[in-house]
């Protein structure tokens, strides 16, 4: 049989080589490989040696640990053997529920360049976890694609490499270059953010990924920095501004549903009004939400929040209203 070259046949050749090098503990010599795989390797000595080298590299690149076994005394190469302990994922096990969570998570990467390799990793997890095949999930869920920089930023965070990009603030006319040590990539309310140290400002900052102009590039070798141990991601996303503790707002019955939705407690005051106790919030943002409801919402406390709502409404009244 002549040497076969198509991708289909090459896959079979690679896998057959893997099976051969995995069989038994005894390493296989090159001569033995060529003898037992005559159907796959070309007859010419040089051509088959080259092909064998390439095949070994291909298998190693997908994580197969092929050991070259040497004679202890004269250090001569005896042959090759696949080390299964090192090749296979043996350190961890997953439950069916965990592997379902991982398969779902992998779908968030759909539509990105990393999609195929992440999908493969999820299949690896599922091959450990097992459990039912939830075919309905394929139909029933659609994920909006992750923004492009997430892939590079995740890898930069893993390898601890600084990144660089142009960033356009909404009030600015032109973008500015930034160099960042990434701490976290996160999403909130449908928007993606990068949190990290702005090296020029020497301070932790939050960046919206949709305001990055052009590509994100790696700006240092791996291991260039250590992120601080306790980054308060929630506080950084909340942004500057005072948080207001336990605001209490009176809301007209049958109105202000978003305030009601956020409330930790709602009590009836009388036939017209309910009293909503809200969780601690950024004061300015809460003031905006309350101002939007006009006369249907009245701040009971604190007074600072009441003053903020009042000043927003005064601006809206056309400036003709007396203080």
């Amino acid at each position: 049989m002549s040497a076969q070259t198509t991708a289909e046949d090459k896959a079979v050749r690679l896998f057959t080589l893997l099976v051969l090098l995995s069989a038994g503990r005894r390493p296989k010599t090159r001569a033995e490989v060529f003898e037992r795989m005559t159907a796959f390797y070309p007859p010419g000595r040089e051509a088959r040696e080259r092909m064998f080298e390439r095949d070994k590299d291909d298998l190693r690149n997908i994580g197969v640990v092929i050991e070259a076994i040497e004679d202890v005394e004269n250090e001569e190469l005896i042959g090759y053997r696949v080390n299964y302990q090192q090749t296979q994922e043996r350190g961890i096990s997953f439950t069916p529920e965990e592997s379902l969570a991982v398969s779902l998570a992998a779908r968030l990467w759909e539509g990105t360049r990393a999609a195929a390799s992440v999908e493969h990793a999820a299949l690896q997890v599922d091959a450990i976890g097992g459990g039912p095949v939830e075919t309905w999930l394929e139909q029933a869920l659609r994920f909006t694609p992750m923004p492009e920089p997430v892939e590079l930023l995740t890898e930069a965070m893993r390898s601890r490499s600084r990144v660089e990009f142009s960033y356009l603030k909404p009030a600015d006319a032109t973008p500015a270059r930034r160099e960042i040590e990434p701490w976290s990539v996160t999403a909130l309310a449908g928007r993606w953010y990068l949190l990290g140290l702005d090296t020029a400002a020497a301070a932790g900052k939050t960046f919206r990924l949709d305001r990055i102009v052009g590509p994100v590039t790696v700006a240092s070798a791996p291991g260039a920095y250590s992120p601080p141990p306790n980054v308060d991601v929630a506080a950084m996303l909340q942004g500057p501004g005072d948080a207001v503790e336990t605001p209490i707002v009176l809301v007209r019955r049958g109105t202000c549903h978003r305030l009601r939705q956020d409330s930790v407690a709602i009590e009836q005051v009388d036939a017209q009004w309910d009293r909503c106790t809200l969780p601690a919030r950024n004061e300015q943002r809460l003031a905006r939400l309350i101002a939007g409801y006009g006369a249907d919402a009245k701040v009971a406390e604190p007074v600072t929040l009441r003053a903020q709502v009042r000043s927003i409404l005064e601006a809206a009244s056309g400036g003709q209203h007396a203080h």
Partner: protein, 326 residues
């Protein structure tokens, strides 16, 4: 799959065998769907795996896979193999565990699990444990263990769980819904078709709405309550889903303000900014209802001024005065 490389195919072989071992009784159709390949490609893969027998090998030294048809539990390899046959791995040699998961992929999965958790909330306890396992992959490898703020389980997680349950079982849902445009809660019966997930928690469910008699898109964070219903589904077989995201722009709001207020209109759907970047703002954007437009304008009155249309400006002023006088 003409463009698939031989290496990618071998990679699949290496995960296919342990996956099949972990999923006994799986059919050809299910396995092909899970791997994202055609059933004929899968059958070819399995036949190729079974053909890696070499001269000089003993029985039990080669891979052995059989296809069993559903009606008879007999070896069916020589007969017609259809998509509903189950795959039975008789011998998988040492290929019973997948190869090691690369640290870069583990990091990507950890990030995705974080995002998933913000969607479905803390009710899905497998998320933190799966994440913990993935962060320990490989000695000497760093996988960031945390991308997102923890401990903030969104209250809507129960709603997401119920929507997923309805999608899995085909049940109708009874929901209390607070639309964007009106400050008013309505109860309706919907038949969910698809959950559309946006990172960070802005998921929508596309569903046949009985009241509107058409496919509508519902924001999950505006579903105040969702219960499975015993009603029989009665949506038409063929659905027009094009109009699900309704853009019923009743009016266009015109605004002006200083350049520093640009954040307030940033990201508003359909917003057109006429002024150059960095200059005082002149812009307009669509609003679904007068009520929504007034609420938006009151919320942002200290940073942007609404200049038109005239009736909107009048509404804003009178609403603001009412509030200040009450």
């Amino acid at each position: 799959m003409p463009t698939e490389s031989a290496v990618a195919r071998v990679q699949r072989f290496l995960v296919l065998l342990p996956w099949l071992k972990a999923h006994p009784g799986v059919t050809i159709k299910e396995a092909a769907a899970h791997f994202g390949i055609t059933t004929s490609q899968l059958v070819q893969d399995l036949r190729d795996l079974g053909s890696t027998e070499l001269p000089g090998m003993h029985p039990g030294e080669s891979i052995n896979i059989e296809f069993w048809s559903t009606d008879s539990a007999e070896d069916d390899t020589d007969v017609h193999v259809d998509d509903d046959c189950t795959i039975v791995v008789i011998e998988s040699l040492q290929f019973d565990r997948p190869t090691r998961i690369a640290a870069a992929e583990a990091a990507r999965l950890v990030l995705a699990l974080d995002v998933l958790e913000t969607m479905v909330g803390s009710g899905f306890t497998a998320i933190p444990t799966a994440r913990a396992k993935l962060t320990t992959i490989g000695p000497g490898e760093t996988v960031p263990g945390q991308f997102l703020p923890r401990g903030k389980a969104p209250s809507r997680s129960a709603v997401v769980a119920t929507v997923m349950q309805s999608l899995a079982t085909g049940h109708c849902l009874t929901i209390d819904y607070l639309p964007d445009g009106r400050d008013e809660v309505s109860t309706r019966i919907i038949e969910p078709l698809e959950l559309i997930v946006e990172a960070g928690g802005l998921e929508r469910v596309d569903a046949w709405c009985r009241r509107a008699e058409e496919v509508r898109s519902f924001r999950v964070d505006r579903i105040l309550r969702a219960d499975l219903s015993d009603e029989e589904p009665r949506r038409p077989d063929v659905l027009d889903r094009a109009g699900a995201l309704q853009d019923s722009a009743a009016l266009r709001v015109h605004v002006t303000g200083p350049a520093s207020s640009a954040w307030a209109i940033d990201g508003l759907p359909g917003c057109v900014v006429q002024s150059p970047a960095g200059a005082p703002i002149i812009a307009s954007f669509p609003a679904g209802s007068m009520e929504w437009a007034v609420r938006w304008a009151l919320s942002h009155a200290d940073v942007l001024t609404v200049t038109g249309p005239e009736d909107l400006v009048a509404h804003i002023r009178s609403r603001a005065r009412d509030a200040l006088e009450s």
